[in-house]
Amino acid sequence: MTAPRVRAWHRVWGGMLALSVLLVALAQQFPQLGGFPTGLVLNLSDWLNAAVTPAFEAARPLGVLLSALAETPLAAIRSALAWAPWPAAILAVVLIALYSGGWRLALFAAAALGTVVAMGYWPKAMNTLALVLVSVPAAVGIGFALGALAYRFPRTQPALIVMLDVMQTWPAFGYLIPLLILFGFGPTAGLAASVIFSVPPMVRNTLVGLREVPPAIVESALMAGARPGQLFWQAMVPSALPQLLVGVNQTTMASLSMVIIIAIIGGFNDIGWEVLSAMRAAELGRSLGAGLVIVLIAVLLDRITRGFARRGPRVMQARWLLAGLVLALVVALVLSGQDLLPGEQGQRWLRRIDGWLLDFVAWSAPFFAVLRNAITYGVMLPMRIGFSGSASPMVWGFALTPEITAAYVLVSAAIALLLGWRSPQRGIIAGFAALLFWTGLPGFPWPGVFLVVGVATWRKGGTGLFALAMGGLALAGLSGLWVPMMQSVYLCAVAVLICFAIGGALGVIAAESDRFSAFLRPISDTLQTMPQFVFLIPALMLFKVGEFTALIAIVLYAVVPPIRYVEHGLRNARADLVEAGVQMGATTWQMLWQVKLPLARSSVLLGLNQTIMAALSMLVIAALVGTRELGQQVYVALSRADAGAGLISGAIITCVALVSDRLLRSRSSIHRKVPE
């Protein structure tokens, strides 16, 4: 960009800062500038209900048909899994693991499934597996078809990409009520939600896989005289197969994650319900045990599906696998009808662990209380109610006198001017930071939010993004959800800050030390494989219900992207530039801050993007342990069976996610290789 244009934008942002200061000052006198004026709130959810409910009820016959279609295979798989004696089922899974991933994976499969049996969770785990086994083929089939069609008709791709983003960011609970109206109460609604959530990765991977088939392969098939169908099925699909299998892997994991969350509507007697009921009963041992089962299943499914995506020699041939599976069937027939499951022993152990855990929690409480207070009073409260709210005798031990106000204004103005002298951009950022720290995010005057977001989206993304952002803000304001939305943004912002502080530091260390990187990698892998639900268990155990617990769960889930992207960016800094830095005599510290981190900028930004997406998607799950933001609104709507309110809250979360994604993506590059 040319210098005059940069200066013009500095003037624009400088003007916005001045305007925002004015708004904050005026908000003291005119409270309607603070929160969105209640006079403007419309009863949107009722209107939406009036439209949605009859529409979905009218579509009921279709829903009943689809329900029947989905429930027949589900019932069959359920009863098959329930009938198969566990030694035979384990044998079959171990053989598949051996074929897919070799001896180590086979051993892991045996140990993991053995643990599930020993803890007494086998039947519940099989019920969860049945849901996954129905949802994954449906999602893979739909995703592949959509991806292939989009490849065939490239004009549809932009619209499809937006649709996929919406499907992945719209919280499932937000559209669960309409689904329940459509399909009736039962597993189909849950399955539909799971399919909606897990289709996008399959579509994306299909599209990428087909696009990246080398032109020479297409041309050579054409020159061999392939008809269109032969070209597609015999040349393109087999060439794209590794990428398609990556899609199957991601779809499976998404599906498992959603199947477990959807247990909240109850009635499946599955492992997700087990975690939920154990958490509600505050039985730590049981919820940890059930959580461990989920993690084991997730890791196992992930490694097996990933193993199929790998090309290369296998320890055994396909026909031996087939023979082994027949053997497993024979074992099943021989053992069928006998009650082989261990009794209550495993559950008794878990109860005993309960006691120990309670002791541990009581013993460690002082330490965690310190942590909790430090973050609550040091970070969360100032972000939520701002300096102006925190500076009271109850919170920080001193009152907000005019002298202190004046001092705050003077100090922050001085800092902003000092920074702005060298670089206007930094001065403006410092000014906004000081302003936000004064009001707190939710307390920032609403016209200011419209202005700042409007200018930022207009500049980065053009009219489309601008319209989306303004629409989302207007929807939040008019539906009376302005404060919950700002609370969501605030909770996410705090989580992202903490994630970047911790994850960034870990990423820097991992980039410098191979040993630390090797140590961190399996932990990151496992954290990314775990269904979101599981993160609630330790957070809840240590910190009880509340916003801080939700924050911890979000951080646990969203801390991996910064680790990965920072490490990836630093490790892939151009070797010649790093050498040049060393040659000029940079110290390690200078190297990091002045050479490598600037070079890793786009990777770090992409990591930021991924962190925000992860935090937003965890928001709704974390709301289960008590928050005051949009995620909670989604639950309230769910428990009231208020389809309209759920849809609106979900739509606002989607808007926030899409806008922040596009804002950050237009800076970093869109087509960037994701580090493994």
Partner: protein, 355 residues
């Protein structure tokens, strides 16, 4: 080589291929024929890329027809037009009594299945199929039974001396081996017309020569009609019966290697060919003439050999050489010396430039 009959296999007239927003607009009248150069200039000025400009040539049965040029000269586009991987804007391509430019659908698939073979620079092997399955792939598409197609594929792999690697996946083969599989695959349906698009460019320079020898051996055995694309002038001179030299989408000179080397039409071609050591690229038959008077003594020299084979005898004082074959041809020392002098001048010029 050199046994090309006079029967024309593929006859191309006034081929145009243009990339851009609306290429068809320029070809709805025959007006372009007045001045192709002017139309090309107009296309460039209006946001189009004329990749092939008014190309006309005949390929004779059994000949190796090399299309050569630098990258961006349109040679790869031209071969894709001939194989109809790209559709041309204008022109005719007569092959086997049909205009390739007009046929489509089923007929095109049928021609590709039985009459055309193509080898690609980046091999284009299916990563999930073994060498044997890759070679059998075109036959599988035709619906040939497994045992039959695998027998044929085995035969083809024997032909390219890969009979021992039937079950290897492409990723387990070296570049040279992969291209042999590509060659075997393109030959499996026994095509009449064989396209090779820079087949050796992606390979290590050290094995170029080995692959070229292999290719010449195959051609001696099979006598296909070949369109060979390359950017390497030495490769073109070694393999070609005739060369079409392309620049900016136009064929700027068409002739035997000796014609192009010895009488370049313009400075561009002269510069292009300056690096070629003529004593290696010019063959005995290019300079041979009917023997005058008494046939020369001494052992005969092969007609297809480069003229450098006579240098030792020339240095020893021999002035006339009998050329192998019954045409009664001889090679005269003066003609050889003239070529050598040109070589020396180029060498001097190169030195002068570097000094």
């Amino acid at each position: 080589m050199a046994q090309a009959s006079s029967r024309i296999m593929l006859s191309c007239k006034h081929l145009w291929k243009v990339f851009g927003p609306r290429p068809a607009y320029y070809f709805d009248t025959a007006g372009y024929r007045i001045d192709p150069e002017a139309l090309a200039a107009r296309l460039r000025g209006e946001g189009h890329i004329p990749a092939v400009v008014d190309a006309s040539f005949d390929v004779k049965q059994g000949e190796i027809f090399v299309i050569m040029g630098l990258s961006g000269s349109g040679k790869s586009t031209l071969v894709r037009c001939l194989s109809r991987l790209l559709d041309i804007e204008y022109g005719t391509m007569e092959f086997d009594g049909q205009d390739l430019a007009r046929i489509s659908g089923r007929d095109l698939i049928e021609i590709r299945r039985r009459k055309m073979g193509m080898v690609f620079q980046s091999f284009g092997l299916m990563p999930h199929l073994t060498a044997l399955e890759n070679v059998a792939f075109p036959l599988k598409l035709q619906g040939v039974a497994r045992s039959e197609r695998e027998a044929r594929a085995r035969e083809m792999l024997e032909l390219v001396e890969l009979g021992s690697r039937l079950d290897a996946l492409p990723s387990q083969l070296s570049g040279g081996q992969q291209q042999r599989v590509g060659i075997a695959r393109s030959l499996a349906p026994d095509p009449d017309l064989w396209f090779l698009d820079e087949p050796f460019s992606a390979l290590d320079p050290l094995i170029h020569r080995q692959m070229q020898d292999e290719f010449l051996r195959l051609q001696n055995q099979l006598k296909k009609t070949i369109v060979f694309i390359t950017h390497d002038i030495m490769e073109a001179c070694r393999l070609a019966d005739r060369i079409a030299l392309m620049r900016g989408g136009r064929i700027i000179q068409l002739g035997t290697p000796a014609e192009i080397l010895l009488s370049p039409v313009d400075d561009y071609v002269a510069d292009f060919t300056a690096e070629v050591a003529l004593s290696r690229a010019i063959r005995v038959r290019d300079l041979a003439r009917p023997a005058q008077g008494e046939p020369p003594e001494g052992p005969p020299v092969p007609a297809a050999a480069p003229i450098e084979v006579v240098l030792p005898a020339l240095a020893a004082g021999q002035r006339r050489f009998r050329v192998e074959g019954d045409g009664g041809l001889e090679l005269e020392a003066g003609a050889v010396l003239e070529v050598l002098q040109r070589d020396a001048r180029h060498g001097f010029r190169a030195d002068g430039a570097s000094a």
